[in-house]
């Protein structure tokens, strides 16, 4: 059953906090809402859950309209960032709570709690209280409390941000595995672009209460629709260079100083020729050999990151970051010739920030 958001609006007083004309989250999908804090992703989750009221528009899960249903009648479970375990109840008590409130008979509660605990490796912890558990264990209990009701939809609000890095990596995998195993729709909220890219089937990138782009992780990374999405993903972030569009018999060119690059512009002639070029650090080719259309730049910073090394390059009023495999061993102060991989250059309208084309393929 698909979750459909239609003309969804959330207002706080006069301020429109969220506006989603149309969003369909498919059944069984791992769908991630990602964006900086205050972009409306958590509000979206709260609206779906029913913890906040929709100001306008429709929420549907399959054929059912959710708008007026109280949270527990929506067949939706929520996993909170803080886990939100009941401190005065044991792990068993926490898992059993939604079933107890639903009026399930005791033997059924026992059976389903036992099943869930088994699946998550919590069986040995059932008699403990939340404060006796580690962060990862608490996280799993929170998952279990969501799973025990066998909902049609799981909502996750930054569930991994309270864990330390190694545990985060492990939990990411566990969540992915769980998603495959359950086959249920996951709607996941995070501000962490890496988490969004590595876990999701599809991603919606949000900013200022709007969805800016919705697509697979590859799509949002490789074909960002605007500068915001382009710079949101990737670490270090995409390089941005102001450039001018020029046209001659051969076609369109983007000019930066003395250097120019063939550009393929989509759509009609633009009013403005002021554009911004976007080039990801891993799409810069570095060489010690001079080349005709390469920039001579100087290495001003070397930052090793294990497999990769991040280089800051400067010269001619241009500042770029490159990500290189460490073997070449460029040294601080060294002069290098830098060339972008043409098919990976993005061209954005400088005024609107929208993507209008790319480098020639």
């Amino acid at each position: 059953m698909d979750l459909v958001l239609e003309n969804l609006v959330k207002r706080f007083g006069e301020r429109i906090a969220l506006e989603i004309p149309k969003l369909t989250i498919h059944r069984g999908e791992f769908f991630t809402l990602v964006g900086p804090s205050g972009c409306g992703k958590s509000t979206t989750l709260n609206l779906i859950a029913g913890l906040e009221e929709v100001s306008d528009g429709t929420l549907r899960l399959g054929e059912r309209v959710l708008n007026e249903l109280p949270p527990h009648r929506r067949d939706i479970a929520f996993v909170f960032q803080s886990y939100a375990l009941y401190p005065h109840r044991t792990v068993f008590g926490n898992l059993a709570f939604p079933l107890e409130l639903g009026g399930a008979p005791l033997d059924e509660i026992r059976r389903r709690v036992a099943e869930t605990a088994e699946l998550l490796g919590l069986t040995a912890l059932l008699e403990k209280r939340p404060r006796q558990l580690s962060g990862g264990e608490r996280q799993r209990v929170a998952l279990g409390r969501a799973m025990v009701r066998q909902p049609q939809l799981f909502l996750f609000d930054e569930p991994l941000s309270n864990l330390d890095a190694p545990l985060q990596t492990q939990m990411r995998r566990e969540l992915r595995r769980l998603h495959r195993q359950l086959g249920t729709t996951f709607v996941y909220v995070t501000h962490d672009q890496e988490e969004a890219l590595s876990m999701s089937d599809r991603v919606a990138v949000m900013q200022a209460g709007r969805i800016r782009q919705c697509g697979t992780p590859r799509e949002v990374y490789e074909q960002p629709v605007n500068i915001f999405v382009a710079t949101f993903f990737g670490s270090p972030p995409m390089n941005l260079l102001p450039a001018n569009l020029e046209r001659d018999a051969e076609g369109a060119w983007a000019r930066v100083g003395a250097w120019r690059l063939p550009a393929r512009i989509c759509g009609e002639d633009r009013k403005t020729d002021a554009v911004t070029l976007g080039i990801r650090p891993e799409h810069l080719r570095l060489s010690r050999e001079p080349a005709a259309d390469a920039w001579p730049l100087q290495v001003t910073l070397c930052e090793p990151h294990g497999a990769l090394i991040h280089l800051e390059l400067e010269g001619d009023g241009i500042h770029l970051t490159a990500a290189e495999r460490g073997q070449a061993g460029y040294a601080l102060g060294e002069k290098v010739w830098v060339q972008p991989v043409r098919e990976w250059v993005h061209v954005f309208d400088q005024r609107t920030g929208e993507r209008i084309g790319g480098g020639e393929t």
Binding site: P71, A77, Q81, Y83, A84, Y86, F97, P98, L101
Partner: protein, 276 residues
């Protein structure tokens, strides 16, 4: 180094001892008076009663008004606590966790109300209760005590409830709790220590309160202990021994409560101070 520490401890003990004797001396005097035979009451020496006597205690307990007053006090204090909970718990829950319009204003007004000295509203309350026809009743004393108990309970409980993380309320709603369900399954179990200390402090306040109880009661039917003790003096002489014995008896329950729950009360008193 060790000498310095020793000196410090000595000073600390000295200062604490002074403070303690300042606070406890009147009570000790009361105990001594209560145990002295009538003949020695106006004599010094002996400082300590010789031999100690239970005659004043027997007299007090035997006196017709005393047990009734003790019962009244218990009723008034218990009812004040129950009323403060019955109205204060839902009010505090709403103020702490629901989107109440004018929340800050309401809390400020409650604080404002509790800052009036008792003497400033005892007159109007007296007139009001006459008009309502409930003067000289336990109900009148309970309502008057609630004027102070309620703001205190709401303020303290609100800050207790605010310390319970929002996500717990949200989780309980997802799991299927109504607001009353959240109150029962999440808030009350977690705010237990807070409820206990608020209840104890309200009880002790109501138990000790004199001015309202004195003004609003007129007969042994509704008099509380502090009032009954103040009205002890007989027609011809002042029975110091009995007054002291009654005062000691009246103090005992509060002292016992404080001893039993002192840790909780301290944590309750400081709860609002640290956060919220």
């Amino acid at each position: 180094m060790e000498g310095k520490n020793g000196l410090r401890t000595l000073l600390l003990v000295l200062v604490l001892g002074l403070m303690l004797s300042f606070v406890l001396a009147p009570f000790a005097w009361q105990v001594v008076t209560a145990l002295k035979p009538s003949g020695q009451l106006a004599q010094l020496p002996p400082l300590l009663p010789s031999p100690p006597t239970a005659q004043h205690f027997m007299a007090v307990v035997g006196a017709p008004g005393f047990l009734r007053a003790a019962l009244n006090s218990t009723l008034v204090a218990t009812a004040t606590v129950l009323l403060a909970f019955a109205l204060g718990v839902p009010a505090s829950y709403a103020l702490a966790k629901l989107p109440v319009r004018g929340r800050g204003f309401l809390l400020a007004m409650l604080l404002f109300l509790s800052m009036f000295p008792a003497i400033s509203n005892v007159g109007p309350l007296y007139l009001l209760f006459i008009r309502l026809g409930i003067r000289d009743s336990i109900l009148a004393v309970v309502l008057a005590h609630s004027v102070f108990a309620m703001p205190f309970a709401v303020w303290t409980l609100t800050s207790f409830f605010q310390e319970i993380p929002d996500d717990l309320y949200r989780a309980a709603r997802m799991d299927g709790c109504s607001h009353l369900g959240i109150l029962r399954h999440v808030v009350l179990p977690l705010a237990g220590p807070g409820l206990l200390s608020v209840g104890l402090l309200v009880f002790i306040f109501s138990w000790n309160e004199f001015l309202y109880a004195f003004t609003l009661t007129a007969s042994p039917r509704s008099r509380t202990l502090p009032v009954a003790i103040a009205l002890f003096p007989g027609v011809h002489e002042i029975p110091w021994g009995e007054i002291a014995a009654a005062a000691v008896l009246a103090t005992l329950p509060t002292v016992l409560l404080m001893l039993a729950f002192q840790r909780r009360i301290v944590s309750g008193l400081t709860a609002g101070a640290v956060k919220g």
